[in-house]
Amino acid sequence: MTASGPVLRIAYLYPDLMNLYADRGNVTCLERRCAWRGITPEIQRLEWNDRLVEAADLYVIGGGQDRQQQLASQGLTTRNADRILSDLADGAAMLAVCGGYQLMAHRYRAADGSEVQGLGVFDAETIHPGSHVPRCIGNVVCDWNESRIVGFENHGGRTYLGPDATPLAQVVRGHGNNAEDGTEGAVAGNAIGTYLHGSVLPKNPHLADHIIKAALVRSAPEFELGPLDDSAEWAAHRGALRAAGLR
């Protein structure tokens, strides 16, 4: 395919701090699915002391450990909050996974009681009930947009959505946001937060394309995402359903 299509600017936030569960597979996935359709992905990897200068169409951040999350929070709130929030207000898209999702909500209270400041993209907050309480670990299946998304969760914190937050999906198997209310993740405009690893995008190609479409809405609203041969993607999707005890 020729690269005649639009450019998609992806800002990958703190891969050196927030890639504990190999969430970089999401970036690999976005990169390839764009390239296969002639979209040129331009990926900017942000390090801890970097300051974002240029606007992005899509922000991606993964999960990390408590201490790394603390550092990422400093980087986000002291150097990059304005850029990210103004891009999102302008319609940019985001995929924030696990620790990254927690950082994009109002705050995260860690197991030791310390508080990590978030950007407040999602009206939600996360409380870690303490290291004596079992973590939410296991395969997850959710209902999403009249279909399903699959993945694996591994988080100590429980996320509670506020009145202005919309859940991303409804849990069919697994714990989701807090193992209480059956919700998983959050949506705010074109930003998506989720607890799902896997990596989540490769085996949920419909979610990956949903995000690419949302990211192109401003720069190339007319661009049609052509169909791809997703048989390997759906086979892995079914494998994850099977692992979760579903068909």
Partner: protein
């Protein structure tokens, strides 16, 4: 002695015997599980009778390092008790000890016997205070089965607590090249012996899946003047001056030799020479350096170390060779990004592309979360023919699609069953002669594959191979 000890030991032995009889396994863990459940102080009480205990822990290399250290001790004429099947939880220790105790729990010739034991990272943290090792070896700390072990920082914190409670006259043996290990080992009240590799790394940036990027003491910027792999290398903190300690036992002049071995110079406080070993890869050079440092710390003579190390064979499933009719299989255990990426580097150092079968299972012992394969740089793989199998074969096929290793996914045989996947990989193309097959497998997939090969009479069962 607890009054129920004889009963517990008898029950354990019976369970192990039944397990072998019913061919459910080697009975290695079952007998220990029963014994330690009925008699919780069996392991520390038994170990306390012995000459001394050496523990080996870390994410990668435990089984190989333990086997090498045992070989060094035996070569020096010292009797050894060990847990050679990689069964490294308390139940595995109990199972290893059971054959050595009599009916009232006494070990014969106990005062001459050394226990050389591999311990899972968390088992070390919980057992070290009661088994009180004389030497504690720490190999490395990488992300591994996070659904089981939790975050890497938590493991380091648990190690620190255990190290703080070690006897002051115990020796800690630690990998100088791993900042996460050094950050905890340096706080030991007694002597610390370091091992490391002085090899010219091609990079000064830790790999994408590395777990240490900032100073473990102060969160300042760590500066590497070379990275060997993952986050191992020569480092210095720009804020608090935490840095790589000078290794007492070190590897230099490393020469890779593909899958069949490697050679290098091994320098210890009292020896210096070149060795040619049958273990491939830099990661195994670290393991042998750790074994030699462990022997030195334990007062095991290493004068004959060269001969012992040069004839030392890989542990089961660790670059183990299995001869099938017409095909030589090399079986490589992969269980986390660092180990898998090191293995891919090994394959790349082979002179020609090889037929490769990759098996991914998601059992508890494999890690139920298969996300880690996205941290494995399969882009480095250049196989002649590539097949995937195991319970999560489809996830693997998808990862390989995005790595662009094969032109289309249709060329990968996606086959959940281990036996059929092996058969497909062995099915030789018309006209081809004797050939080689590389199998990369997660833990239970490796055991399953060995079981298939054992049934076909190509290899001994693992509990016999390890003995």
């Amino acid at each position: 002695m607890p009054i129920r000890r004889p009963a517990a030991a008898l029950a354990g032995r019976t369970a192990g015997w039944l397990s072998r009889l019913t061919r459910r396994g080697g009975g290695t863990a079952v007998s220990g599980l029963v014994t330690s459940a009925l008699d919780p102080t069996f392991v520390p009480d038994t170990l306390r009778q012995l000459h001394s205990t050496i523990t080996i822990t870390g994410t990668n290399g435990k089984t190989t390092t333990t086997a090498a250290l045992c070989a060094l001790a035996r070569a020096a004429g010292q009797p050894v008790l060990t847990n050679p099947t990689g069964s490294n939880l308390e139940r595995g220790l109990a199972a290893a000890l059971l054959p050595h105790v009599n009916w009232i729990g006494k070990v014969r010739h106990a005062t001459h016997l050394r226990a050389i034991l591999e311990l899972d990272e968390w088992a070390f943290a919980s057992l070290a205070p009661t088994i009180r090792p004389r030497v504690a070896v720490f190999l490395n700390l990488f992300r591994d089965q996070l659904d089981r072990y939790g975050e890497v920082d938590r493991t380091a914190a648990a190690w620190q607590e255990a190290i703080d409670r070690l006897d002051p006259d115990a020796t800690v043996v630690a990998n100088a090249d791993d900042p996460a290990v050094v950050a905890v080992a340096r706080n030991h009240r007694g002597p610390v012996l370091y091992f490391g590799a002085d090899v010219t790394g091609s990079s000064t940036t830790p790999d994408a899946w590395a777990d240490v990027r900032r100073c473990p003491l102060c969160d300042g910027r760590l500066d590497w003047n070379r990275v060997v792999y993952a986050h191992l290398g020569s480092y210095r903190c720009l804020s608090c001056h935490f840095h790589r300690p000078k290794p007492d036992v070190r590897i230099t002049d490393f020469q890779p030799g593909g899958l069949t071995g490697s050679s290098y110079r091994l320098i210890t406080p009292d020896s210096d020479g070149y060795i040619q070993v049958k273990l491939p890869g830099l990661y195994n050079a670290y393991n042998l350096a750790a074994a030699v440092a462990g022997a030195q710390a334990a007062g095991i003579p290493t004068a004959d170390a060269k001969d012992t190390l040069e004839t030392f064979q890989p542990a089961f499933g660790r670059a183990e060779t299995i001869q099938a009719p017409g095909t030589t299989i090399t079986l490589l255990l992969v269980k986390n990004p660092t180990g898998a990426n090191q293995t891919l580097d090994l394959l790349r150092s082979e002179p020609e592309p090889l037929d490769t079968l990759v098996l991914l299972n998601d059992g508890v012992a494999d890690g139920e979360d298969v996300s880690w394969i996205w941290d494995v740089e399969f882009e480095r793989l250049a196989p002649r023919r590539l097949l995937v199998g195991g319970r999560r074969a489809e996830d693997l096929a998808l990862r390989l699609k995005y790595a662009d290793v094969v032109p289309t996914v249709d060329q990968l045989l996606v086959c959940p069953g281990i036996g059929p996947a092996l058969d497909a990989a062995l099915a030789s193309e018309p006209g081809s002669q004797s050939r080689r097959l590389i199998v990369l497998a997660t833990y239970t997939a490796m055991l399953d594959l060995r079981a298939v090969c054992t049934r076909r009479g190509w290899v001994d069962p693992y509990w016999r191979a390890a003995a």
